[in-house]
Symmetry: C2
Subunit: 124 residues, 2 copies
């Protein structure tokens, strides 16, 4: 106990097998909050309903009702999901009377979508 092995690193119950590797990678790691934020971003893409919404909006601007009809889902379900997408700035909206039109926030969103589509074309 007194002569704790140099290779031991706190919470890990096993011995570090490759200290150099771990130290090297540690230096290039990003801050935790960046991984957290990235996780949030990807998580937003991690639901079929939200993917369908974003895919649809990549084709055309649509109101909530249009989207609900297209996906044959309730207005409420769509509205809740649109809020999620708004919160992470993946979609934006404009109001015209009582109708709210949604569209993708920028091309960057579509770039990520395409990446996913390419991957499945690659895999499925």
């Amino acid at each position: 106990m007194a002569d704790k092995k140099e290779n031991d690193i706190e919470l890990c119950e096993c011995n570090v097998v490759h200290k150099d590797t771990v130290d090297g990678v540690k230096k290039s790691m990003l801050e935790d909050r960046k991984f957290d934020y990235m996780g949030e971003l990807f998580k937003s893409f991690g639901d079929p309903t939200r993917l369908k919404i974003m895919f649809a909006l990549s084709k055309d601007e649509m109101c909530v009702c249009d989207i609900a009809a297209l996906l044959e889902m309730s207005q409420s379900a769509i509205s809740h999901q649109l809020r999620v997408l708004r919160n992470v700035r993946l979609v934006k909206n404009r109001k015209e009377g009582k109708i709210v039109y949604y569209s993708l926030d920028d091309d960057h969103v579509f770039t990520m979508l395409k990446q996913g589509i390419e991957h499945i074309d690659h895999t499925m």
Copy 2:
């Protein structure tokens, strides 16, 4: 009830405001299973621990113990997450004695990671 409005579409409780838009987009929609699969893929990227693991593996091949030490997490937690990543083919492994070395499955994974990193550099 008998003269159901032409604009009404099943499960959506509101009237379709823009039938042409909905019909147009509907034609270009992908199959449900593709959205499901894409959702699974993005969901795999949607957790900070898994992102850290993939980021680390983009720098160097590492064994389970290395990763646990790097992230200061339990071997079990890492092992469970590695299984998730294995199941969707984002990482691969090779065994050398009792040590199992993990690495990214292909460059495509890193491309998606980079996309996420670019997005946060853009946003944060």
